[in-house]
């Protein structure tokens, strides 16, 4: 249970990180919070020749909230964002998701961008980023590009990052005044990996109908999964009791979730329908708190 040998690098500037990645990319891993990478090193599931620790790159250790949205740097810790009252007010769905990420001791070290780059399909943050139309800012020594969250996650533990690239930050567009969103998940024990999770988001219009619904699930597929049929089913409705029961039935009947040692596909089907119904019911409750 000890990491195999590697060469440790501790750059202090972003340019140095990108230089190191361009030199060692194929044989290197980036160490940010380390809450997923270190277990993989301890188990020797990974044995990179080079470890590039970005913890001393202070320009990456920040986030900024503006009128246009929230920019979260590669080293911003989960706990820091969770404790920000401004972030909670502007992105309640992100706050709620963060409180479901493992335990305080993990969130004290763990980073938002690290969780995204790790791309665990059972994780909370990837689904929330897809629901919010977040955009990943990716850089290498010679290039920079942006990747919409929906295209970023390609498979379980796999993102569209190339070996020489770093996820420098993620941009979350501002949520509109009438946009509401919640996150919920099912775990055996608080803080465990989610068996299933769901980010549910929508915008109430002046006619009392929900529009632009997003329903994104964790833990049911190799990537965050948008349930487009369910989104269409509820969009344009008032989220009445009949609609909620109908969408639960639709999800339970149509979903084909993965099965693993943690639980069966059958169980995942059932509880995914339940948490989506509950999430949408909360969006319905929140209608009275906004002014359209």
């Amino acid at each position: 249970m000890k990491p195999s040998r590697f060469v440790y690098h501790a750059p202090t500037e972003l340019e140095q990180v990108l230089e190191l990645l361009s030199e060692y990319g194929d044989d290197a891993k980036v160490l940010a919070g380390g809450q997923s990478l270190m277990p993989m090193l301890n188990f020797r599931l990974l044995s990179p020749g080079h470890l590039i620790d970005i913890n001393r790159v202070s320009e990456l250790a920040r986030y900024s909230l503006s009128d246009s949205g929230l920019n979260i740097g590669a080293l911003a810790r989960q706990r820091e964002l969770e404790l920000s009252p401004e972030v909670e007010l502007a992105y309640p769905i992100l706050h709620e998701g963060l409180t479901n990420v493992a335990h305080v001791q993990i969130r004290n070290r763990g980073t938002i961008c690290g969780s995204l780059a790790h791309a665990d399909s059972a994780a909370e943050l990837p689904s929330i980023m897809v629901a919010l139309d977040a955009v990943m800012n990716v850089r290498s020594k010679d290039s920079r590009r942006t990747v919409p969250a929906e295209d970023f996650f390609t498979f379980h533990l796999t993102s569209s990052l190339n070996p020489e690239e770093l996820l420098v930050s993620v941009d979350l567009p501002r949520m509109g005044a009438n946009t509401v969103g919640v996150f919920d998940e099912i775990t055996r024990r608080k803080g465990d990996f989610a068996l299933v999770g769901a980010a549910v988001l929508g915008t109430w219009d002046s006619d009392g109908k929900i529009r632009d619904c997003r329903i994104v699930c964790s833990g049911v597929a190799p990537t965050p999964l948008r349930l487009r049929e369910a989104e269409r089913y509820v969009s344009g409705t008032d989220l009445s009791q009949e609609v909620l029961i109908g969408v639960q039935q639709l999800v339970t009947e149509s979903l084909e979730p993965t099965e693993d040692i943690h639980t069966s596909a059958e169980y995942r089907k059932k509880v995914t329908g339940v948490i989506i119904r509950r999430g949408l019911a909360r969006l319905a409750d929140q209608r009275s708190t906004i002014h359209v």
């Binding site: 195999s4 440790y8 160490l31 270190m38 277990p39 305080v104």
Partner: protein
């Protein structure tokens, strides 16, 4: 390219300076050694225990720059410049902390393997504010595992420290 930590070319080890339980020192560490193993084997502080070594059990919890963290998921070289608190630093001159006294009084340990991790998690938590309800107590305990399932005693110990309990006791 200059990096923050200089590699010793002969030893392939790195020099780090840390303050551990108030004592500042400089140490030559292997690049791949975890902070937990560094504390236990190199510094000689075996009170930090290693259960799972992948961040699930919480036995290795220490306080690093004021925050409770898993020392099995941090490399010793990353602790350069850090202030570290371990279970050995809690009692001062043989006098237990209030939390340790409460654990003792409420039989909040059985085999004791997980205890140091719980004490460090809870010490950090109690600095943020009091724990007044059972729900808060269980939330504070949730990041550590007691394989003897001795949680009830720990909940009682925590509630005995709460302001509300002390006010009730004074009446």
């Amino acid at each position: 390219m200059s990096e923050a930590v200089e590699l010793d070319p002969v030893e392939s080890k790195l020099w780090i300076t840390t303050t551990i339980n108030g004592a500042k020192g400089t140490h030559l560490v292997e690049q791949r050694i975890t902070l937990a193993d560094f504390l236990r084997k190199q510094i000689g502080l075996p009170g930090t225990h290693l259960g799972c070594e992948h961040g699930s059990c919480g036995a290795c919890t220490i306080i690093l720059d004021g925050k409770a963290v898993r020392s099995c998921l941090i490399l010793a070289v990353q602790a350069d410049g850090a202030v570290i608190e371990t279970v050995e630093g809690l009692a001062s001159e043989g006098e237990l902390t209030q939390l340790q006294e409460a654990f003792h009084a409420h039989h909040a340990l059985q085999c004791g393997f997980c205890t140091s991790g719980f004490l460090m998690s809870l010490t950090a938590r109690l600095r943020e504010g009091p724990i007044d309800t059972e729900a808060e107590a269980r939330e504070a305990l949730s990041g550590n595992i007691c394989r003897c399932t001795g949680y009830s005693g720990m909940v009682e110990a925590l509630l005995s420290l709460s302001n509300e309990a002390n006010e009730d006791g004074a009446r």
